[in-house]
């Protein structure tokens, strides 16, 4: 960015200083549109908290690749085995730190060898460095394509560094395999033979070579695995191989853990006051990229230790192996449940991204093979057996039907796709996004109702005893309610509610949401059973020996689960109402607070939803008065047990995140 301008610098220092003294205290000379408000966002120079450039001139001189070679601080040939083990272990530590959300500039690119791989003469360092660059590139691509990360999860910026794109995958694997084979020869030649005693040096050489061998093999397998996961084609058949590699990686990691002490350890520096630099081995310079960082306050990155790194990598392999099981899920709902469940566990941005990419590697194509619209049509059919989609129905053959249903399904793809992506975000971000998707889903619901009405009119003309009311509508409604329930329950998990708010949250769940969910599932159930009866009816005429398949109510289990949650919420709501009325619940001073405002804020996103209709605050209050008579139950419970205590009750959120055990104190 060299500017070819001619400068004519005139020294105005003295004039400047003298003029400044003529100003009064607090008086400013400023540009026309500039004021103190804008001045607030200026970074202050010479303040270590805000001036990242200051640190470059700390205790030691910061040198890049070339300068370090010239100064003799960096070796580009004849790197010894313990040195290489250390470089590998520390590079993986940087990789893990990056995956946890830090910048590449302060993690992997503190490894100077990664700056200029082609200038490195040592074949082992070169092969490893190229492999690492390509691994980082693939990881970055997977996470970027999935787009389920925010700035707190991951930083994809590569700061213009070259990622060895000129070297092919095959060549990289070949290079690492070559080195692996060379090291293996050393391992074999230094192995303890029968009757022979090895000297200390040979024994040490053997351990070091073995450690190096496992690390290089791990690197190669990791690369192959990630390359396999980054394909844009159908990998349902190759996912078995991926899982095999992951297991092999885990085994190698166990071995690497036992040899983690063989690498050269960093020498502690005298400068212990600095919080920015930390002791490193040859090959690393923590401050080398400081000037590339944005001018915001300097961020100090703590690189993980070598042991922590290996443990993390092991868990990561397990997580990725688990998400590979998504290919076994049946239908869209099965996949959605799988993704929701995984989001509930300890996940990471990489595993969540892999999960998203496994299911939809290419835009709108499930497993890169089936368009999502088709999958959704299948899902709706399986959910509620709407006559418009069922093969035996006259309605399905009507071209008008196809037109309307297709338009509806196309409109459904966006919000349903969003439902999948939401599960890929971290838990905190999910709540915001759920509120947004509710808007889209409620529009879809209106559309669904219109399509249902139209199809119903068509149907009764040809088959007067059947109906098509609220088929697609129920399907969308089911998802709307599930999103609303999730939204409220996430509030508990993220600890957003105060105890004095619990009662109306649980009330909403008990009275409105779970109630509606049960009725929707029952309706879907009814439709499916009706369809089966209809088919049986038709078959009876043709084949007298038709076996009567008694189809079990498909949603029996789901309905029972919903009823259980409903009762749980109901019980908690009544208990909390009781506590409130007994004066045991701390409430904020209503002089500075309005319960109505809080209530409306908590249920704000539900305002856009037509079904179920949002419940106004007044109705909730009225029902609270009803609970007054019901709290006799709670009183009985408390009568013989610390009835005089005015202590607030304790809410224990184990074993479940949203429904606590109440302990009376």
């Amino acid at each position: 960015m060299a500017m070819e301008m001619q400068h004519n610098w005139v020294d105005v220092t003295d004039t400047f200083r003298t003029s400044c003294t003529e100003l009064k205290l607090g008086e400013l000379v400023h540009d026309q549109y500039f004021g103190l408000f804008e001045a607030m966002s200026a970074i202050e120079m010479m303040d270590p908290k805000m001036d990242a450039g200051m640190l470059c001139h700390q205790s030691h001189l910061v040198m890049g690749f070339d300068k370090s070679i010239n100064a003799g601080k960096l070796k580009k040939r004849n790197v010894l085995m313990p040195e290489l083990i250390a470089i590998i272990d520390d590079t993986y530590a940087c990789l893990v730190t990056w995956l946890e959300g830090h910048s590449l500039a302060q993690t992997l690119f503190t490894n100077l060898y990664l700056h200029k791989v082609h200038d490195v003469d040592d074949r082992q360092v070169k092969a490893f460095s190229i492999a690492m660059l390509k691994i980082v590139d693939i990881l970055r691509e997977i996470v970027s394509r999935a787009s389920v990360f925010e700035e707190e999860d991951f930083q994809p910026l590569t700061y213009g560094f070259k990622m060895a794109a000129d070297i092919s995958e095959v060549r990289t694997i070949g290079m690492v395999k070559e080195i692996e084979d060379d090291i293996q020869k050393i391992v074999k030649s230094t192995r303890s033979k029968q009757g022979e005693n090895r000297d200390a040096q040979t024994t040490a050489q053997h351990s070091e070579a073995s450690a190096l061998y496992t690390r290089l093999k791990f690197t190669r397998l990791l690369f192959v695995t990630l390359a396999g996961l980054n394909k844009r084609e159908d990998i349902t058949s190759t996912v078995g191989d991926v899982k095999k590699y992951l297991n092999q990686c885990k085994e190698l990691l166990q071995s690497m853990l036992t040899s983690v002490d063989l690498g050269v350890q960093p020498v502690p520096t005298q400068d212990t006051s600095s919080t920015v630099t930390y002791p490193t081995v040859m090959g690393f310079e923590p401050l080398v990229n400081q000037r590339l960082l944005p001018p915001t306050f300097p961020r100090y990155t703590r690189i993980r230790s070598r042991e922590e790194t290996l443990v993390y990598l092991d868990k990561l392999m397990s997580r990725v192996e688990h998400v590979c099981n998504v290919v076994g899920c049946s239908g869209f709902h099965g996949v959605l449940d799988f993704m929701r469940d995984f989001s509930n566990r300890e996940s990471c941005v990489l595993s969540r991204s892999v999960l998203q990419m496994l299911y939809m590697p290419a835009d709108k194509m499930v497993y890169a093979v089936t368009p999502i619209a088709e999958v959704l049509r299948e899902t709706a059919r399986n959910f509620i057996c709407p006559p418009a989609l069922m093969p035996k129905s006259s309605l399905a053959n009507n071209p008008l039907t196809k037109e309307h249903v297709d338009a509806f399904i196309v409109q459904a793809t966006r919000p349903f796709r969003a439902l999948l992506q939401i599960t890929g975000n971290n838990r905190a971000r999910q709540r915001d996004k759920l509120a947004h998707v509710l808007d889209e889903l409620s529009n879809l619901q209106d559309e669904a109702d219109k399509v249902d009405a139209f199809l119903h009119n068509l149907l009764i003309k040809s088959e007067p005893q059947r109906q098509h009311l609220a088929c697609f509508g129920s399907w969308v409604l089911c998802h709307v309610i599930q999103v609303m329930i999730q939204y409220l329950l996430l509030g508990f998990e993220l600890e957003l509610y105060s105890p004095h708010e619990y009662h109306y949250i649980y009330w909403y769940l008990y009275e409105i949401l779970y109630g509606w969910l049960i009725s929707v599932l029952s309706r879907a159930d009814g439709f499916c059973v009706e369809y089966d009866a209809f088919v049986a009816e038709q078959q009876k005429g043709r084949n007298k020996k038709a076996k009567k398949k008694k189809r079990q109510r498909p949603y029996a289990r789901d309905i029972t689960v919903a009823q259980a949650y409903q009762n749980l919420s109901g019980g908690l709501y009544k208990a909390l109402a009781g506590f409130q009325l007994e004066g045991r619940q701390k409430k904020p001073m209503f002089e500075f607070d309005s319960e109505q405002v809080r209530y409306e804020h908590r249920f704000g996103p539900f305002g856009s939803v037509n079904t179920p209709p949002p419940v106004p605050f007044e109705q909730c209050q009225a029902l609270l008065k009803v609970a007054k008579t019901n709290f006799v139950v709670m009183k009985l419970l408390a009568s013989g047990h610390k009835g005089d205590s005015k202590e607030p009750p304790e809410f224990l959120f184990t074993p479940h995140k949203a429904f606590p055990i109440i302990r009376i104190t």
């Binding site: 004519n8 610098w9 003294t21 540009d31 500039f34």
Partner: protein
């Protein structure tokens, strides 16, 4: 003019930006500020670090230069 506490430090940098604001203590605010470790005319050409909006406390300013060609690009040398 150097601030007494930073005498030992070898930190000398040049900042180039458009003049936006100053006050009695000669604290200076520059817009679109770029940081050079060596003076910009020196060979080899150095890649500046973009800072954006920067405030330099008056007591750290060593010198102020004005570019007569464009007229509004003070160059500050800081210790």
């Amino acid at each position: 003019m150097t601030g007494p506490t930073y005498n030992e430090n070898q930190d000398v940098r040049s900042l180039i930006g458009s003049f936006l604001c100053t006050d009695k203590d000669a604290n200076l605010i520059l817009g679109n500020c770029q940081e050079y470790i060596y003076p910009p005319e020196m060979e080899p050409k150095e890649e500046p670090r973009a800072l954006g909006l920067a405030m330099i406390p008056g007591h750290h300013i060593v010198s102020v230069h004005l570019d007569k060609v464009t007229e509004d690009e003070p160059r500050i040398q800081v210790i």
